[in-house]
Symmetry: C2
Subunit: 191 residues, 2 copies
DNA sequence: TTTCAAACGGACCGCCGGTCCGTTTCCTGT
DNA sequence: ACAGGAAACGGACCGGCGGTCCGTTTGAAA
């Protein structure tokens, strides 16, 4: 990769991250990003394909670090299986809260596009593995979806910003619910 | 309200509903709707304000009927408190599944706009009331959010269309999880 | 029938995502 | 050191869309 290309790539990514953080999930246009990064519009599209690609790239930069953090917490010490699930979910929660506007922007593009992004799939698979170690008989695949749904960025924003729930309260609720899911019986559910 | 105005209103609503159902949550433009309804663009905007207003109006038409249905199920017979929650959630699930593209379109606009729409608030309040009758000590306000998050349209679509889970399986999961939430202890949750 | 407020409709505007292509910049081979 | 060419650049340009405006039409009340 050519030197100027790399420099521009970094500049665009940094600028996009900043604009999203400052002005919200849809408070930026591609022209904005290009101009603020001191780069031509064509350069942005050449590198990232389209708007969704840019958002995806910004997310990729941060998601790798959070994933490493989660994995470190999981490996460190001999955490019992149930606590591993809790740790994973709690870490995910913190990560989403820390980057709310970015994650909201990301959810919008990933929901819209056909391709299921690799990131979400990884998270889901990891959680499935963790859950099935605690409740071998349960529908781990569904439960993982259910827990992830709890920490969707727009859901969290809705609770916190619109309904005024405190972040700590929501966090406690999420963790409590995760515990309930893991410890409760698995009723086959009629009607 | 003038006769022609009423006729046009109905035509636009029906056309919008059809287009959303046929072409997905963002497969229509305001020009499309106006043309397909045999009406001028200005007429659509005059009546519904903007794109979001149109979607909201389409939703309002159907949400009233589902709400009535849910209320009927709740009143009919002497359903025990816990089953009332299950019934409510299950009915909501069925409603969302039945109108997936419409509800997805709606979630996008309602998430974006500042005003928390009356509809979602109503649903939430009703669920809070039902839950607090079953678990007086729990954080019913949060739990209601958590259960509603389970039946968010884009989450359901993600599970069903992208991850290939059967609708019946997801429905069973949702109900099972709701039961778990209601019957489980309310751990105060550390970490 | 007159009258006028209300509704209509489509031309028009500005913005935005995405493309195109002439120009510039960096690397490589000699 | 230099020449050549591939790769990157950048901004003019395009089509579509949400939303507005205003001259025209329509329906109902007096």
């Amino acid at each position: 990769m050519r030197k100027d290309a790399e420099r521009n790539r970094a500049a665009v990514l940094a600028t996009a991250a900043r604009l999203i953080a400052e002005r919200g999930p849809d408070g930026f246009s591609m022209d904005d990003v290009a101009a603020a990064a001191g780069v031509g519009k064509g350069t942005v599209f050449r590198r990232f394909g389209d708007r969704d690609g840019l958002v995806q790239a910004v997310v990729d930069e941060t998601s790798e670090s959070w994933r490493a953090e989660a994995e470190a917490l999981l490996e460190a010490g001999d955490v019992p299986p149930e606590e591993r699930v809790i740790t994973f979910v709690a870490t995910l929660f913190d990560h989403v809260i820390a980057a709310l506007p970015l994650v909201i922007a990301f959810e919008r593009v990933s929901t819209r596009s056909i391709a299921c992004d690799a990131d979400a799939k990884l998270t889901h698979q990891r959680l499935v593995a963790l859950i099935s170690q605690v409740k071998p008989g349960a529908d781990a695949e569904y439960l993982a979806h259910a827990l992830i749904a709890q920490v969707r960025a727009d859901t969290l924003r809705h609770m916190v910003e619109r309904c005024g729930l405190d972040v700590a309260r929501v966090r406690a609720g999420v963790i409590s619910l995760a515990r309930g899911v893991l410890s409760g019986d698995l009723a086959p559910a009629g009607s």
